[in-house]
Structures are given as structure tokens and as C-alpha cells.
Symmetry: C2
Subunit: 415 residues, 2 copies
């Protein structure tokens, strides 16, 4: 199989982007259903291709956790197809008039949502992202260049072939969906493709995101890592604090909105911490902590300095003791990755200060950070969670995959 | 005078950003008036400093056009002060709830506008931008790092000193406004200051913008150049086309929303072009054109190929003849900088297609592109016109100087 030329694919995507940008919702929804149908119709070839990837990964000594992320079966494929049908049920963001007004001279101005154009997505092992990202891009009127992991290349080829067949079936330009193959250098080519690619979205671990953010000349929509804190204030309902802490830490530890660091007010640390450690240890969590925390509970083990800034993404948690709200806010400012930060408190003034002074995509009061998620928010689709400040911050869904255009109509007005 | 250390200034700005982010509108408006008062109170020292810059520029053989942009006098200084007072009259974008909803489990979510943080602005000769940018940043709750042209350094020092005195007077942290001095290398330091600077905004010519967009690791809000086209359709009201063309070209030729290229439908070129050239030549405009245009009117001079992609910013215009709307859209797609593109037509289907298929920050029907401006839009303030697709597209005003934060409140909800 010869690798398609990136430049040809990008030009094809630009041409397709013009037609999908103006496609009606009915056309796009029909295409999403056709893509879902094609995934199911090609189940055998997709699963055979996936088996190749899995065997290659096993031969290379890949960990079982990663092999699990890579593996497809009938039910996972059905879920991918259902994901595309779910997208068909969502409102079309394109064409929404976000503002409109008339100038004194009668000139009318509308600000209208339009697609971004050609979106490049650089992602890691999970092949389900391929269908998911292609569907989100199509529904938002964008063409996409999908740069999946080389470890999933056989699966991705089979999936994209099916998706393109689905597009063909309903007469949508199949160049709207493209798999970008090739070695590591192709990522550099994508990052340099200013003018050809409108936006790049890295989805994956911290090092992938950092490399794209630093290296790209194409504008980047950054999906961020989550070094999330939970501050237990002196006025907290301690049972609630324990329950939210446990949920945020263990309900799904490998994701970005999971809890990494517990920050406890010194006034209640003596009462709260032993109960909290009980609950955590029972759930299989290793508790690391600073010297003050260790002095309160001997089950707490060391934390090395640099660990305060990273994600565990595992059944580990860190505990820091602080003297008051100011110190808690300072501590979170120093270590937060700007994703989701929580306070447990019954003090209204403390709620207000935490909300105002902590700089993150989401600040939570008395609720689990696990709610910071496009699905939980009710968005129905999510391309990632942005921790950057420009364009989109927090869960990114269909509207975040668009830009706007001012449409100005007059009858001869001049300045 | 010793140059302050950039790192110290940036850290000071980050500290000040926390307090200005949560300052009330009343405090910020009082600060804007105090800044305006301080500019007027320091008129003498500012004008003396400006005289130094002007003399240095003259000695260096700078063109009179640039010296005019650099020069201040009492009335220009009064206009700068008035600009700050105008900002005090505008609504505060910070705290606006842009969306809000409740989850089925009772968790409440608000999306709230918050400041970006520390904004770096890199700009060229005009010293009035110093006060203007400082005011826009303060009103939107941001601290700023102002990197003006070295040719205006004496003026900028005197202006920033006055602005800081104004902030001091009302008890706002004066580290919210900073002049960044030093050689060319300091721009590189700013572009690398990821984590210290939240956003960089280049304001100036195409080469400055391109250098910042390509070189920056800090996210960039790009203010773009305008290679603006006007397409005269076969169904156009030709008198209206002439009037809008003239206004867009000559009312202020040096700005980004001025007209650069006239695209004329071949069916009406024989009738329209001689009149259009009459009007243009009378207004002192040199008309360049392709071979088909030159064959119609002998007053049209050559255009060299690469000129189709650049801005004249002068009393020059290019004319291209195209066979139909498709060719006009293709032509504009090939040469547009994505700023403002206009069609003159009475054909509703052509209006609709032009609006949908031309990819620009603003598309205009039967109106002058000179309206694409924050002031004309009624925004009351403008930091520049974005031709990029992320975050902001078109005139950028106070809301575009903010990001959002999700504020999530519950009473113990977990997943």
C-alpha cells in the first residue's frame, strides 16, 4: 500500500471543505448515518486489520493497558457507529446567528457561525477516535486530516476506508475525511502547513500536546492535561468532602478530570485526614503527602517535590496541608494545570473568592470534578477539554469547532 | 535610565493581573479617568519626550509620513485622554454570564467571562497606541506588557509613567501597565514567555505580524492585513458600484479595510470600467489591471503577478476581469487575506452564494468595506481586526480580550 502524499490530501481536503461547509444539516446527518452503516458493513475487515495492530503491538512488548485501548471488538465497533448516529441527532452549529444588529445608516450586520475549514487532529492509540473525530468534524462542516498513532495504522486505514465509502454513498466529497500516514516527520509537515490546515488539535498525553503547541505554525486548539486539586476548607461538610474526594479520585483515575491533589485546611486536618485516608486506602489508593500531612497520619508516604505538578492518572493521590484559603489559592495557582479546581466549603465568602481567584477552565464548589466533561455537560459530543484561554476553554463540542463570519448587507451605504 | 528586567516586569504584571481581574467596574473606570487626567497633567513632559523621538527620527532620515504618525501635539494628547474616558463609558465584559444551565442532578453550570491575564502587545510607531492598548487591557481586567517601537521609546516612557501615576492615584496596582524596553531580542523573549504571558497581540505591518505568528510559543491573537476585493456582478447597480468602490479605495487608503482589487464581471466590464476608471483617475488613483482590463481602457497600467496578493495601502488599485460569479469567487479565494470581501449585485442567489462561499472575517453585500471597523460596528473600542479563525474574527473589542471560565456549583453531587 503506498502512502498518499500529504500535500495532495490537504489540497483535496481544502476542496472538500468548501462543499461540506455549505452542506445542509440533512445532508450531513445522512452522511453520518451512512458512515455508521459502513462501519458495521465492514466489521470483518476492520476487526481483521485491528488484529494486525494488536499482534504487532504484542510482539513489540506493549503493555496490556495500551493493548486494551488499541483493541476493537464487535461491541466497541457498534459503539463507534452509535457515536456517529448520536452526532446526527445534535443541532447543527453552522449558520447560527450569534449576534445581529443594524447600524444607524441601515447597514445590517450578522455574526454567523461558519466551519473552521480543514482541521488536523493528531492523536494516540485509540482507533475509536478516528470515527469520532471524523464525525465531529463533518457535523461542524469541516474537512479533517486524521493523524493517528502508527501503532493503530491498520485499524485506522480500514476505518477511514469505511467512512469514505459511507460519504460516497450519499454523494458527499470523500476527501472530507483523510488518514495521514507516514513517519514521525509527517507531524512536522502538518505543523508547518500554515494556509493549508486551518487548525491543529492534539489529543493525547502531555508530551504530545506540548510538542504540538511549541512546534506548530498552524493555530492550535490545545486539549490539556489535568492536575486537578480539591481544597477542603475549614467550613467544609467533611462527609461531603470525603464522598466527592473519593469519586473524583477513583471513579476513573486515568482521565484528565480525575483528582490528583487534596489540599486540606490545617484547622480540620486532624479530624478530616484520618477518615479521608481510611476511605482512600480502602479504595486501593496510595496516599502521598507533605511533612505536615505525614505527621497527622502515618499511612501517608513521601511525595517528591516535582510530583506536585504532574498527573498521576493512577490510584495515587497527594495531600498538602495549608493554613488558610489564601494559602490554598496560592498553592493551587502554583501547581494547577488550569483544568478543574474544586473547593468544598459552606462559607459563601470563601466560595466567592475561590471562584474569582482560581484561574482554571472550571472551578467547582461542592461537586465532583468528574462532571467537567462534554457528555456530562450535556453537549452530546466532545473533541477534548481545552485548558488554554483562547477560542475555547473547558469541554469543546460542536460550536467550538466553528469560527464566525460577519455578514454585512446594505443598499449602497458608504462612509 | 536603566531598562527594567523583562522577567521582573512580567512577574509584576502577573501579580497585578490577579487584582485587576477582580476589580469592580467602578474601580476600573475611576482608573481610566485617572489615567486620562495624568496624561493631561503631564502634557509638557510627554510632548518634550515626543520631540526627542521626532528629532531622532528626522536625523535618521525617516519619511515624513512616519514622522507624522509618531508626532504628538496638544490635540492628539487630548484625543488619547478622551479615548480612555470613552472606555470608562463602555460596559464591563468581565463577569458576563454567557451561558448557564442546570444538570438533571441539580449541579448548576455558568460560563462566565473572565480576563485573559497578562496580555503582551507588540506594535509600531504610533505612541497613541500605548494609552489605547493600556486602557483596553485595564477595562477588560488584564495586565499588559507594551512593546512599542524603539523609535517612540521616549514618548512611550513618558506616557506609561503618566498612566502608572494615574493608577497609583486610585490605588490600582501600577504593575498592571508596563513598557517593555530593550533591543530586538526582547521580542523573542516575549514570544518564548509561555506561562508568563497569556496572549500576544501584534499590531502593525504584515512582516511584524508574520514574525510573531511564526515565532511565538505564547498563543497569538493575530490582527491581519487586508487585501480586500470588490466584485462587481453583472446584475450590479453600476452607480452604486462606483460609489462604493470610490469610498472603499480613497476615503482612507492606508488602512486594512480599504479596497485593493476590483473584480469585474466580463458582461458589464465594457460599460462599467471606463466610468469606474474616470472616477478613480479623478480621485488621483493609479489603476493597474490584467490584459483584459487594459484592452477595455487604455488608462489602465500593468500589474505584476505577485502584486495580486499584497496591499497597496496607497492610491493604487488593481482590476481583474472574470467571466462569472464562480470565477470571481475562485479569484478572491486565491488572493484574499481573509479580511473583508464585497459583492455589488442585485441578484439574490449571487448574494447568497458569495456570502456562503467567500472565506473572510467579513463579507459585504452592497456596502463599503470601510464599515468593517470596531468603531463603525458600534463596539466603542478596537484592539485590531482579526483575520484568523480562532477566538476572534473581525473587529476585536473588549469581549474579545476575555476568555471564559465554567463555574460549577453543587451540594455534594458525584458521578
Amino acid at each position: 500500500m503506498t502512502t498518499p502524499d500529504f500535500h495532495d490530501q490537504a489540497l483535496g481536503a481544502r476542496a472538500a471543505a468548501i462543499s461540506v461547509a455549505t452542506a445542509t444539516r440533512a445532508t450531513k446527518d445522512a452522511a453520518l448515518h451512512a458512515m455508521a452503516d459502513a462501519l458495521l458493513a465492514n466489521e470483518l475487515s476492520i476487526l481483521v486489520a485491528n488484529q494486525e495492530d494488536v499482534e504487532r503491538a504484542r510482539a513489540a512488548g506493549t503493555s496490556e493497558a495500551i493493548i486494551d485501548r488499541l483493541s476493537l471488538d464487535s461491541s466497541r465497533l457498534a459503539a463507534m457507529a452509535e457515536g456517529l448516529r448520536d452526532l446526527a441527532r445534535l443541532a447543527d452549529p453552522v449558520g447560527e446567528v450569534t449576534r445581529g444588529w443594524q447600524l444607524p445608516n441601515g447597514v445590517h450586520i450578522d455574526q454567523v457561525r461558519v466551519p473552521l475549514g480543514v482541521v488536523g487532529i493528531i492523536y494516540e492509540a485509540r482507533p475509536n477516535v478516528t470515527a469520532d473525530a471524523a464525525g465531529i468534524c463533518l457535523k461542524s462542516g469541516n474537512a479533517c486530516l486524521l493523524r493517528g498513532s502508527s501503532s493503530a495504522v491498520s485499524s485506522n486505514r480500514a476505518i477511514v476506508q469505511a467512512l469514505k465509502a459511507g460519504l460516497d454513498k450519499v454523494g458527499v466529497d470523500a476527501r472530507a475525511v483523510n488518514l495521514i500516514e507516514g513517519g514521525h516527520e509527517i507531524t512536522d509537515v502538518m505543523m508547518a502547513a500554515r494556509g493549508l490546515v486551518d487548525v491543529l488539535i492534539p489529543r493525547g498525553g502531555a508530551s504530545l500536546i506540548e510538542a504540538v503547541v511549541r512546534g506548530s505554525q498552524v493555530p492550535v486548539l490545545e486539549t490539556g492535561t489535568g492536575n486537578c486539586h480539591l481544597y477542603v476548607d475549614s467550613s467544609a461538610d467533611q462527609d461531603m468532602a470525603c464522598s466527592i474526594m473519593l469519586n473524583a479520585k477513583v471513579q476513573r483515575p486515568s482521565v484528565c478530570n480525575a483528582l490528583e491533589t487534596l489540599v486540606v485546611n490545617a484547622d480540620i486536618a486532624g479530624a478530616f485526614l484520618p477518615t479521608a485516608v481510611d476511605v482512600l486506602v480502602k479504595a486501593g489508593v496510595t496516599v502521598h503527602g507533605d511533612d505536615r500531612a505525614k505527621a497527622i497520619d502515618s499511612r501517608i508516604v513521601d511525595v517528591v517535590d516535582e510530583e506536585w505538578d504532574s498527573e498521576f492518572l493512577s490510584l495515587d493521590i497527594r495531600v498538602a496541608i495549608v493554613d488558610n484559603l489564601d494559602k490554598a489559592i496560592d498553592f493551587i495557582r502554583a501547581h494547577s494545570s488550569g483544568h478543574s479546581e474544586t473547593i468544598i466549603t459552606n462559607d459563601a465568602a470563601h466560595q466567592k473568592r475561590f471562584i474569582a481567584e482560581v484561574d482554571a477552565a472550571a472551578v467547582l464548589v461542592n461537586a465532583s470534578s468528574r462532571f467537567v466533561d462534554g457528555g456530562q455537560f450535556g453537549f452530546g459530543a466532545e473533541i477534548g477539554i481545552s485548558t488554554q484561554k483562547l477560542h475555547a476553554r473547558g469541554p469543546m463540542a460542536l460550536p467550538e469547532m466553528t469560527t464566525t463570519k460577519y455578514v454585512i448587507t446594505g443598499d449602497g451605504q458608504i462612509r
